[in-house]
């Protein structure tokens, strides 16, 4: 088990290193540099030369990369080209906001979808199942931003005005102190990911409910609740864990669109803006963090799978 963990962590670190190289190469391939992007139309040769020097863009590409990597190892993410502020200071508030949004969404969406999946499986081919399945299929086929705009229409702009239409979190304030501003973006994410997880849960639950040991348990006269939650769910949950992990990782990156629709001050808007500005230190830092979330979440899902699967739990011994 510990050897497995160590190997996975090392592989994860290697993945992150490769990601950093790819992202750096990609940002270099973007036409124009930070000085040009910042000045835009006002890039007269004299102003361009002055800013290029200020931003150290005259150094060679590998030297810029290793300078950044060295900083990363020592916990220094560098200085933003666009704002001249330390990157960590620039993005920490944003990361906290996005993390809170994803966390709130996940903590509601995952139990909710597992419960819905179980319900659909138990009521298979009955009206409840049909209604829930059709609804979730319809929601799954809608892009995130359509869901977001629809919710804003219903609760903020046209039909009612009970919630804020956009998440105007004042700078320096944390999302958790202004929960009202988080409701709509979180609801959007929940509606976006719930169908996937619940459908997987339903499918695997249906399979488990048809298995011999569930029939056996029922024949033994165990109460229905015990059969479902003690015997069926633990065996049906593995695919749901895996797909939840994927959805979580998707949220970490895909939160971009939702943040856009609600002007939520998270990593999404920051990432889009930084790519536009060719602000490579910020792009790098955010890409690494999002990649790290992928690695960690997938690792956690694998560990959890092992924990709930006795066969795998003992295989390593």
């Amino acid at each position: 088990m510990s050897r497995f963990l160590l190997r996975r962590i090392l592989l994860g670190l290697l993945t992150l290193l490769l990601v950093s190289i790819v992202v750096f190469a990609a940002t270099q391939a973007l036409p124009g540099n930070a000085a040009r992007a910042i000045l835009g139309r006002n890039a007269t040769p004299a102003r361009l030369a002055a800013l290029t020097l200020q931003l150290h863009l005259n150094r060679s590409v590998p030297s810029q990369y290793f300078h950044w990597l060295g900083g990363l190892v020592t916990g220094n993410l560098g200085t933003s080209a666009a704002t001249q502020q330390p990157v960590s200071q620039l993005i920490s508030g944003r990361i906290a906001n996005s993390a809170f949004l994803v966390f709130v969404s996940a903590i509601i969406a995952i139990p909710l979808s597992i419960a819905l999946g179980v319900l659909m499986a138990v009521r298979r081919d009955r009206p409840t199942d049909h209604i829930l399945s059709t609804t979730s299929l319809a929601l799954a086929s809608l892009p995130d931003f359509v869901i977001g705009i629809g919710l804003a229409l219903l609760f903020a702009t046209n039909v009612t005005h009970i919630l804020p239409a956009v998440s105007l979190i004042p700078p320096g304030e944390h999302a958790w102190n202004v929960p009202k501003e988080v409701i709509l973006p979180a609801a959007t994410l929940i509606i976006a990911v719930t169908p996937y997880i619940s459908r997987i849960m339903r499918a695997s639950m249906v399979e488990v409910l048809e298995s011999d040991y569930v029939t056996m348990a029922r024949l033994k006269g165990l109460p229905n609740r015990t059969v479902i939650w003690r015997h069926a769910v633990p065996n049906a949950i593995v695919p749901a864990i895996q797909v939840s992990a994927l959805q979580l990782a998707y949220m970490a990156g895909g939160v971009v669109l939702v943040e856009y629709v609600f002007s939520f001050p998270g990593v999404g808007a920051q990432l889009v803006d930084s790519v536009g500005n060719r602000d490579i230190p910020v792009v790098q830092a955010l890409a690494i963090i999002i990649a790290a979330v992928y690695v960690v979440v997938n690792l956690a899902a694998d560990l959890l799978t092992i924990v709930v699967t006795p066969r795998l739990r003992t295989a390593g011994r």
Binding site: R36, T157, A269, V272
Partner: protein, 542 residues
């Protein structure tokens, strides 16, 4: 009725107003005349602009107090609050409210209004040296009175050869080494060459006056609002400057500028009441906002233009007949309809429509595909194929390229679109594209020429350098008499009209929206959103 159908009438009115205004002010601008004309000498309810009968009713009684939140487009991490480095729209919005230049054109685009200066006059009746007198007692936010030293410091900061600011491109010809302080509140600005329209160059929002030792981390100016906080890409909070020189203004106690990356989010914030005004309302949403009784749409008929730029020094456009043919290909009314949803006025391949010298006698160019084909044939370019470089540098620009390509097929011309992102478009090849597009704000004729139509201009996309034209411009710059100068300028315009490298299909409207509880917003012919972003004129009506 679509907008361009009645645009001529509206335009004519405007021009007369501008002309009239220019005669009272003109090159002999003094604060006395202007202050009387603008009614800003102490009456608290007058709005800065006296014109614009077409602007939404700004009912007289504005109450003091309340806070105003404005949703703005185009902000990001690179936002700045530096008085002399505005680039994005939100930077410009901050500049208009925190700082003031010596003089500036009001939203009506009438004659320059004196701001920090009381008067700016040509010395000895010659346009190569100007005397600036400062407004008596005008204060910075920190309580210090503005002096000639502050003006000199500001100009030196703008023209710093090691770190030139935005304004360096407009007033680079000020002989900064020989600027002379005449008294605590007056100074002489000598120019490297005579320029009768120097006021238009110095009178730009980015040439703001800041105190000696100005530190952008603690921004101080003379504007109606004082700095409180600023977070790039998110929001800026300003509060009322109680000692603002225009007594009674601003009306609101605080101003918050909130950055939005997405159009939908910005409109939703207005609909939901989280902001009270937004700039750049997407044309698709006009009817939705107009149908909402709690909100108002502000449509400004501006002089901003988004030209196609043909390099006159490169084949095939080096042949004037090809340029003429391209101009005849454009179906302007159709372009206004399809690209702007009718929100614009057709143009005539000439810029600076509000300049008294703008030549209305030149016939309106209309689509003539037969003539275009014949010109191309004469030039040996029948069945021409060209590449048009386009990027979303301004709303409607890429759509205009698509419409143009489609219209060109009528003359047997194939236009291949090279679509780039904005960063690449303004990359190393900017100003080198053979056939591309660009965007420009409202300017008078000579200041625009200085920006884009001279070999020394920072943005001469068409590489225009016609010798007769250059001679006329030099002559006009040295002519203080306005009637004479306008005659010369019309000759220069005629040359551009006949053989220039720009295709100017239209002047686009500026569309903003605001809450019906607010008053004081006026149409900005200048093209700066929300009435020049002059929130000092805005207040709650109830």
């Amino acid at each position: 009725m679509t907008d361009y159908e009645f645009s001529e009438q509206r335009d004519g009115l405007t021009r007369r107003q501008v002309l009239h205004g220019a005669l009272t002010g003109g090159a002999m601008l003094t604060a006395g005349g202007l202050l009387a004309a603008c009614g800003s000498s102490g009456s608290s309810s007058a709005s800065a602009s006296s014109s614009a009968g077409s602007s939404p009713a700004s009912t007289g009684a504005l109450k003091s107090g309340g806070s105003l939140s404005v949703g703005a487009t185009g902000g990001g991490a690179k936002d700045t609050i530096d008085a002399h480095l505005p680039t994005a729209d939100t930077d410009i919005m901050r500049c208009w409210n925190l700082y003031e230049p010596l003089a500036v054109r009001p939203p009506s685009f009438g004659p320059l209004e004196m701001m920090v200066a009381e008067s700016i006059e040509a010395e000895h009746g010659k346009a190569d040296s100007w005397v600036v007198k400062l407004r008596p007692g005008i204060e910075f936010h920190n309580g210090k009175t503005v002096t000639a030293d502050d003006v000199i410091f500001s100009l030196q900061r703008i023209l710093d050869p090691k770190d030139p600011k935005v304004g360096a491109a407009s007033i680079g010809y000020v002989d900064i080494k020989n600027v002379k302080k005449l008294s605590a509140s007056s100074l002489r600005l000598p120019l490297k060459f005579a320029n009768a329209t120097f006021l238009d160059d110095i009178g730009q929002y980015f040439n703001a006056i800041v105190p000696v030792g100005y530190d952008p981390a603690k921004p101080v100016g003379t504007g109606a609002f004082m700095y409180e906080s600023f977070t790039p890409g998110q929001q800026s909070v300003f509060k009322k400057f109680p000692n603002y020189w225009q007594t009674g203004k601003p009306y609101v106690d605080s101003l918050t500028i909130i950055d939005f990356t997405d159009d939908t989010a910005r409109v939703n914030a207005l609909l939901g009441g989280q902001v009270q005004a937004i700039d750049n309302l997407p044309t698709g949403q006009i009817s939705q906002i107009q149908g909402n009784s709690a909100l108002k749409v502000l449509i400004s008929h501006t002089g901003q233009w988004q030209p196609f730029t043909m390099r006159v020094d490169q084949a095939p456009f080096s042949d004037v007949r090809v340029r003429q043919a391209m101009r005849l290909i454009v179906n302007r009314p159709q372009m206004v309809e399809q690209v702007l949803s009718g929100q614009g006025r057709i143009a005539n391949d000439m810029y600076a429509p509000f300049d008294p010298a703008y030549d209305t006698a030149l016939p309106q160019r209309v689509q003539d595909l037969e003539q275009a084909k014949s010109l191309l044939k004469q030039a040996g370019h029948a069945g021409l194929t060209v590449q048009l470089t386009t990027a979303p540098v301004f709303q409607g620009v890429v759509q205009a390229a698509e419409v143009f390509a489609q219209q060109a097929t009528g003359a047997g011309v194939t236009v291949n679109l090279q679509k780039l992102d904005t960063g690449t478009f303004y990359g190393p090849n900017y100003l080198k594209w053979t056939f591309a597009q660009d965007f420009w704000a409202t300017r008078e004729y000579l200041p625009q020429v200085a920006q884009g139509s001279l070999p020394t201009s920072p943005f001469n996309e068409t590489h225009w350098a016609d010798p007769t034209f250059l001679k006329l411009i030099a002559q006009a710059r040295a002519t203080l008499d306005e009637t004479q100068r306008d005659d010369i300028l019309r000759q220069a315009e005629t040359i551009e009209y006949n053989s220039g490298g720009y295709i100017i299909p239209y002047f686009s409207n500026q569309i903003d929206a605001y809450s019906g509880k607010l008053g004081g917003f006026v149409e900005a012919k200048s093209g700066f959103p929300l009435g020049n972003y002059w929130f000092k004129n805005v207040g709650y009506t109830a």
